[in-house]
Symmetry: C2
Subunit: 160 residues, 2 copies
Amino acid sequence: MSGQDQDQDQAFIEQAIELARRAIDEQAGGPFGAVIVLNGRAIGQGNNRVLGTCDPTAHAEVVAIRQACRETGQFHLPEATLYTSCEPCPMCLFATHWARIPRIVFAANREDAAEIGFSDAEQYQYLRMPVSAFDMHQIARDAARQAMRDWAASAGSRLY
Amino acid sequence: MSGQDQDQDQAFIEQAIELARRAIDEQAGGPFGAVIVLNGRAIGQGNNRVLGTCDPTAHAEVVAIRQACRETGQFHLPEATLYTSCEPCPMCLFATHWARIPRIVFAANREDAAEIGFSDAEQYQYLRMPVSAFDMHQIARDAARQAMRDWAASAGSRLY
């Protein structure tokens, strides 16, 4: 991977983590953010809105995928990358698969989600990992974990 | 199960299959329909709208879950049943799990979906089945399969 690609990964994962930090102020949902990037440009982004929209499917990745597809008029994005502040839960993994997005860069992981009370683990027991359809990379874990811990310590944090 | 419960299952699976049949006229997406039922009442319903809304996550089950949660103001529906014209794909299974819907009644299955060109099979290879978190039942397979075949033979059928 070139230095330019690494710089791009770093920049967009930071954007995803910044979206995750919105959870503290907005109280729309959990501390998770995602960005979809195509040809170096963010074409979709989102933070978790399960509580704000009363929609259990409104995870950051799903919100970002919906926006990216609407923006481009394409329901398949085979050249895109998903940047997400935390390892996608199984629902989001398969949503990404339906969108034909082949590359995923994530920061925190399922253990970090469990640490703040989210139990994606129950779903992961039904998965055979790794889901080899994806090219997956983990970077910037500490920054994302800190955002999650700050959320957990904040007054408005609420599990779902 | 009482005769009344069986009658209810039959009535709502027929409603889900009727929604699936809309695909032929509406051309909004694949021939799949779903209904969420709580206390004998349909609180959410949907047909697949992947093409119509350019949203790869707009499967019938997800559309129905979103409506049911909006309708009730609850993002968890632990007393509800999901009726769906075809076995839920992995994304929809986990969406149902996040909505805490414990019971699923489906009609056609993944082989029937494959027969008309949908390749959920690629995703199923990553799942350990059965997903024991759910109480799952299959009824009315033939009626749903016929709706799917009619769609496949229609002029507007389009895969995604």
